[in-house]
Amino acid sequence: MIEGLIGGLFNGISIGAVLLIVALGLAIVFGLMGVINLAHGELMMLGAYTTYVVQNGFKAMGESALNFYIFAALPLSFLVAALVGLALERGVIRYLYGRPLETLLATWGVSLILRQFVRSVNWAMIVGLVVLCGLFFGGRWVLQRSQRQVAGWMTAVLLTLSVAIAVAVGLLLNQNAGVAFSRPWFSARNVDVTPPTWLRGGLALGTTLQFPYARLFIIVLTIACLAGVYWFLQRSAWGLRIRAVTQNRSMSACLGIPTEQVDALTFALGSGLAGIAGCAVTLLGSVGPNLGSNYIVDAFMVVVVGGVGKLVGSIVAALVIGIVTYLVGSGTLALLFTSAEGLQPLAAFFTFFATTSMAKVMVFALIITFLQFKPAGMFPQKGRTVEA
């Protein structure tokens, strides 16, 4: 009984830890900036693919090196996702601050593009992209030097021209430059990342309990990320600036805080955390273009239930949702009631919900009920800035 309880708790916490590490970046981007980033899942997916690439790199170096690929993969995933996030912020999001619904639609568009990108990326496409960026930014630079003000239509024409040329170059390469250019980097099917040997198996406690090392690793990683984010926001100079801009943008600008850089940094940080989350979930399953969409809705639920803008809220919400999901989904609750006399209807009720997908149904019903009493989440923020 006790063992079952501890086992259940552990599994719940480990689900919660995955949720939390995914939700952490979202909580920052949504809570501090008011941006709904639906591409968060795809940033995760990029992190996961980075891990896959890094592992393949380490494979070439031999078996002994392979065991430590994850320590290289973590920072690299962070970096890749953060850079993509940075580009996203500079390219799109910064025009949309204060309009959360618009950010939602725009980031969804980005997520579609990213999903298709990993499916069909090959060298021809990369060359095309480079050409596009070169032409567009080069052209804009030239325009800015020659014109006092660059009109909207000029940018539009420039963009259309660059896209046309880049697509043409890409297509030409794709068809004529041989397999090296036209072969997709990743297969359309899911790829697998093999965890290092020291993360296989688990820590045995007692007779039946086993804590898989991979899960333990994720819990530790989550705690480390939390500590890192907490330290960064509360103790570092940039963290102070981020908090200042969140609370009063114009005042911060008057005090000489570079608000644009702060925005970019905050978004990059949130995106980078998505990359780490992506790296972490490779330990649990295979990697595919749709990896992110499995997590994104749950992660948003964590943020909403916890209370937007409060990291503590996200932590508690993730753990509670994780534990409830596990207890319902694994049938532990149903078992509990089956053993008791007179509670058979209740047991039947919980048995009905004792699958992973049905557990989600139940958890959502609970969340809606919860929001009836606490519409602003567990830890409501006073003077909320995100209000559409």
């Binding site: 949309l96 204060g98 618009e102 568009g109 593009i113 499916r119 809705v297 909403v304 809606i368 559409a388």
Partner: protein, 391 residues
């Protein structure tokens, strides 16, 4: 020039005349769709068009709730699928002889028809269920959310979560509703005719056109009168309404329910024309895509919603026939383009930019100035900031 474009049409006779012209136009377009198009388009293309028109009906529902009322629902797939399932269940059990069960039940060892299938033996019940069930689901969900003044993005996120829940439910219940595989309708018979046959398909096409016209009329009526101004007021400043003595919750619940009902009808029409209803209709991506049709056409313009739905889907089928990989890139770019460069959509853009003649052509419905962005309004923003500072 700037002001006279906004002056409202003269009251009385002239407004009456305009209404007549509009009714005439709608009927004329419907007749063209029913009589002329089938003569010039192949059966396959006509089937596609019928499906797109069904999607245009959903788009009208989305426009009502998002374009006019400012509530972005990412869960309209629920209502769409519910309407489809209602009709598909009727078709499944009414094609069989007495005492027979739909085939899939035997796969999961179900020997008795589950209780909630029973009422679908009745055609009147089914026809009501097609729009009443989605309306009730939307109404309840809306009430629970709006009652607590959950608004804006929170509403969007919750509707999306609801969508995931319904998807999981329908996807996971193999023995109740055939789970992932969905329910097929093309081999069933409806009023003695096989649903998949070309004559039935043609009738469904006509029915779709008729319902599209009806849905347009309903939305037009809702958005033009005093109720429509209430919707715009909700979009502009919901909280202000409370101080004028209105309770926005009721209005929002009603509008969400109507929007859900419209989506339900669309779902049923789409289902019989595509031959299947499955949990895929509740895919997250599909529901967000509905939003983009409205955005491309122009939110808060009903014509825009219809045109957007038809043309985006047309583009999709053309593009994905020849280059399937490109469609997602294209769609993603469409999202970005609409949000950043074309916030009023194509019709909205035409309405404001083109000459008077064009405006009269497209702008029969009342013009609404740029979408509501409370946050961008410096005055409201100032008040909010002050409220925050006070704490």
């Amino acid at each position: 020039m700037a002001t006279d474009t906004f002056v409202r049409p003269k009251k009385g006779r002239q407004a009456h005349q305009r209404l007549l012209v509009e009714v005439g136009l709608v009927i004329a377009i419907a007749l063209v769709l029913i009589l002329v198009i089938p003569a010039v388009v192949s059966g396959f293309r006509l089937g596609l068009l019928g499906r797109f028109l069904a999607l245009a009906i959903v788009a009208l529902g989305i426009d009502l709730i998002w374009g006019f009322t400012g509530l972005l629902s990412l869960g309209h797939g629920i209502f769409f699928a519910l309407g489809g399932y209602a009709l598909a269940m009727y078709l499944q059990i009414n094609t069989l002889g007495d005492g027979e069960l739909p085939e899939f039940f035997s796969l999961y060892g179900v020997t008795e028809l589950p209780w909630f299938w029973q009422p679908f033996y009745s055609l009147p019940f089914t026809l009501l269920a097609v729009f009443i069930i989605p309306a009730v689901v939307a109404g309840v969900l809306g009430y629970l959310v709006f009652r607590n003044r959950i608004r804006g993005v929170y509403f969007s996120i919750l509707t999306q979560a609801a969508l995931v829940v319904f998807f999981n439910f329908f996807n996971g219940q193999q023995e109740l509703i055939n789970g992932t595989n969905g329910l097929k309708t093309d081999t069933s018979t409806f009023l003695g005719v096989e649903v998949g046959s070309s004559s039935a398909q043609f009738n469904f096409y006509i029915l779709t056109v008729v319902f599209l016209a009806l849905a347009y009329a309903l939305c037009r009526w809702l958005t033009s009168g005093r109720f429509g101004r209430m919707l715009i007021a909700i979009r502009d400043d919901e909280n202000r309404m409370r101080f004028s003595g209105y309770d926005p919750t009721g209005f929002k619940v009603l509008v969400f329910a109507v929007s859900g009902a419209i989506a339900g009808i669309a779902g049923a029409l789409y289902t019989v024309q595509s031959g299947i209803v499955s949990p895929q209709y509740m895919d997250i991506a599909f529901s967000i895509e509905m939003v983009i049709w409205v955005a491309v056409g122009g939110r808060a313009t009903l014509v825009g919603a219809i045109l957007g739905a038809v043309f985006v889907n047309l583009g999709r089928s053309l593009l994905s026939e020849s280059f399937p990989e490109i469609w997602l890139f294209f769609q993603g770019a469409l999202f970005l383009l609409v949000v950043t460069a074309l916030p009023d959509g194509v019709v909205g853009w035409l309405r404001y930019r083109l000459s008077d003649r064009f405006r009269r052509w497209f702008g029969r419905s009342r013009s609404v100035v740029t979408p509501p962005l409370l946050e961008l309004d410096p005055d409201v923003g100032a008040e909010k900031r002050e409220a925050i500072d006070k704490r």
